[in-house]
């Protein structure tokens, strides 16, 4: 590696880190605003114009807070856990392109790299749960492990199906393959799988059981405060941005689709803006879902993941493989995908096969009993 390359990567990494920090700050503000609007509130309004400086105020507050170490904590694990969560979140961005060549290092096996790195954050959460020496934290950490590991399967399988269509693991090539149509059009099931599993990977509502405030009072983060808690927080928002960006890159055509006018620099700027707008829309969708749906129970979460998403992701791969192998037109895959999606909806809401008999208790009002006590008592 030459000196020039070292300088290039150092500067690039610094710029990327700066940009991502900015994105995270904006996201914390945007989420509070979005949720507030959904609840017909105004959200932060005091610091700066419409609360735009609120994230900075929050940051100052967090970084001047006392960092508390519980007396029974496993010290090294406790201090290392935020780093173990934050670093993988940052590492993902090494190979995520925001426009053509606007990437630190485009890897040939980019998608493989992403699937490999994204699992690492589970370890950080388990470490946080273990290191805190707190029952809630431990339960939360184990829940995180169970949830993230089971949802990793449909997440990766959705990525695999996309890679099969694009015949490449290189993200730039995946985006180029979508120049005419986004993969959301030919793999609606893939998009559904990816977004659902992605939400679970993020631990966002409705899959936020590992830091469910009403159950495990913040899960692995109970004991953390100040800057270390901020690291978890930053990683969470960074991952939200990552999943939204991946959705755009893999299913919504990245910066390619629909095509942009102009050439040269104007085209590059426009494609970057296009990518960011699409990402913002996906992020709004994630906030919107958070503002709408309640949390799943842990058994619902597990059965949804293993009984529905995992089989569906394999069916998706099989369908894609069959269509590609026999060289059927791609709109055939669209139809198969839509059928699968319809089947999923049917399974979720009609619940065939599990004909549950519910024991019901008929309630007789006291007035009825009084009017004709013998008859009603005999009926009951």
């Amino acid at each position: 590696m030459t000196l020039l390359q070292v300088v290039y990567y150092t500067l690039g990494a610094a710029a990327l880190f700066g940009f991502l920090s900015l994105v995270v700050l904006v996201l914390t503000w945007a989420e509070r605003k979005a949720l507030a609007r959904i609840q017909m509130r105004m959200g932060p309004m005091r610091v700066g114009l419409h609360g735009t400086l609120q994230p900075i105020a929050d940051g100052i507050k967090l970084f001047t807070k006392e960092d508390i170490l519980p007396s029974w904590a496993d010290r090294r694990v406790y201090w290392l856990a935020p780093v173990a969560v934050f670093v993988p979140a940052l590492l993902l961005w090494v190979t995520l392109p925001m426009a053509r060549d606007l990437v630190l290092r485009n890897l040939e096996l980019g998608l493989f790299y992403i699937t490999a790195i994204s699992v690492l954050s589970v370890m950080g959460l388990v470490m946080a749960g273990w290191g805190s020496a707190n029952k809630y934290a431990m339960i939360g950490g184990l829940r995180a492990a169970g949830q993230l590991v089971s949802y990793e399967i449909p997440f990766i399988m959705a990525i695999v199906a996309v890679a099969m269509l694009a015949q490449s693991l290189d993200i730039t090539k995946v985006v180029d393959a979508q120049a005419n149509f986004g993969y959301a059009l030919i793999q609606p099931v893939g998009l559904f799988l990816f977004l659902t599993a992605g939400l679970a990977e993020l631990g966002r509502t409705p899959f936020d059981i590992h830091h469910a405030e009403s159950e495990v009072v913040g899960g692995p983060f109970v004991e953390y405060s100040g800057a270390h808690w901020a690291a978890f927080f930053l990683a969470e928002y960074l991952n939200t941005f990552t999943v939204a960006a991946l959705t755009v890159l893999l299913f919504l055509g990245g910066w390619r689709w629909p095509a942009m006018p102009f050439d040269g620099l104007a085209h590059s700027t426009l494609s970057l803006a296009w990518f960011l707008v699409k990402t913002a829309l996906v992020i709004w969708l994630i906030f919107w879902i958070r503002g709408t749906f309640p949390r799943l129970r842990i058994d619902q979460l597990m059965s949804f993941g293993w009984k529905l998403l995992v089989p569906l992701s394999f069916l998706n791969i099989i369908a894609t493989a069959v269509v590609l192998f026999y060289g059927w037109p791609l709109w055939g895959l669209t139809i198969i995908s839509l059928l699968l999606l319809g089947g999923t909806v049917y399974v979720i809401f009609k619940n065939p096969g599990t004909d549950m008999r519910r024991e019901t208790v008929s309630v007789i009002s006291a007035r009825d009993l009084r009017r004709n006590p013998t008859v009603d008592a005999a009926d009951a």
Binding site: A34, R37, M40, M42, W288, T292, F349
Partner: protein, 217 residues
């Protein structure tokens, strides 16, 4: 699935509705209370004289179920110079708003239209004793209330502090104009402890125990 989409639709609709939040502490954006709102008691200002209506008679202080008030009366210098009909006037008045239970008994017992439940209702203060308001603040609260509501005294003929002229007073035979009376013969100690109901200058011929000592002009 329909249920899921319905839920999303509901939140989408509410997201585009106008927020119900009021930016509370800003004066022009806070919620306005109704005209009939009963806030903390405040002392009213007789703009005709001008001086407070209150004579410091202590009726409200004694009637207060939480003992949140204290008052002290003094001789009214304007009575000496014949600018006012009030022989006694309030000197200090303090209400601990934190103790007040907004029962309105002080207003009911007041003989002089001097106290009224104003529109003030905010208890958050920067000082520990910030809720103990003195006479000036009570009068400010009262003046705000009078400006807001266009308050009129319920019994102007009795409670106005404007001295009654000799010729105007002839219509009411039982009442002599206040300035026709000689200066108060009693000493200061006696006056402060004298019957509070007669703290306002009344004609000597009036029955002191009468329920309605002054007839309407």
């Amino acid at each position: 699935m329909v249920g899921f989409l319905e839920g999303l639709l509901v939140t989408l609709k509410t997201a585009f509705r106008k927020p119900v939040t009021l930016q509370y502490p800003e004066p022009d954006k806070r919620h306005q209370v109704a005209q009939r709102y009963m806030g903390f008691p405040a002392l009213l200002w007789d703009g005709d004289v001008p001086e407070p209506y209150c004579t410091g008679c202590m009726v409200c202080v004694r009637a207060c179920p939480t003992q949140c008030m204290s008052a002290q009366m003094t001789d009214n210098p304007k009575f000496e110079s014949e600018e006012s009909r009030r022989r006694k006037i309030i000197e200090t008045f303090e209400i601990n708003l934190g103790r007040c239970i907004l029962c309105g008994i002080c207003v009911d017992v007041c003989n002089f239209d001097a106290i009224e439940m104003s529109h003030e209702h905010e208890l958050s203060k920067y000082q520990r004793n910030g809720n103990r308001v003195d006479l000036d603040m009570l009068l400010d609260m009262g003046r705000n209330y009078q400006d807001d509501t266009g308050w009129r005294p319920t019994n102007p003929s009795k409670n106005s502090g404007v001295p009654v002229k000799k010729d105007e007073g002839k219509g009411t035979p039982r009442r002599r104009p206040a300035r026709a009376r000689p200066a108060s013969p009693s000493t200061e100690e006696e006056e402060t402890s004298s019957n509070v109901a007669t703290a306002i200058a009344e004609p000597e011929g009036t029955d002191p125990s009468g329920q309605n000592p002054v007839s309407d002009c």
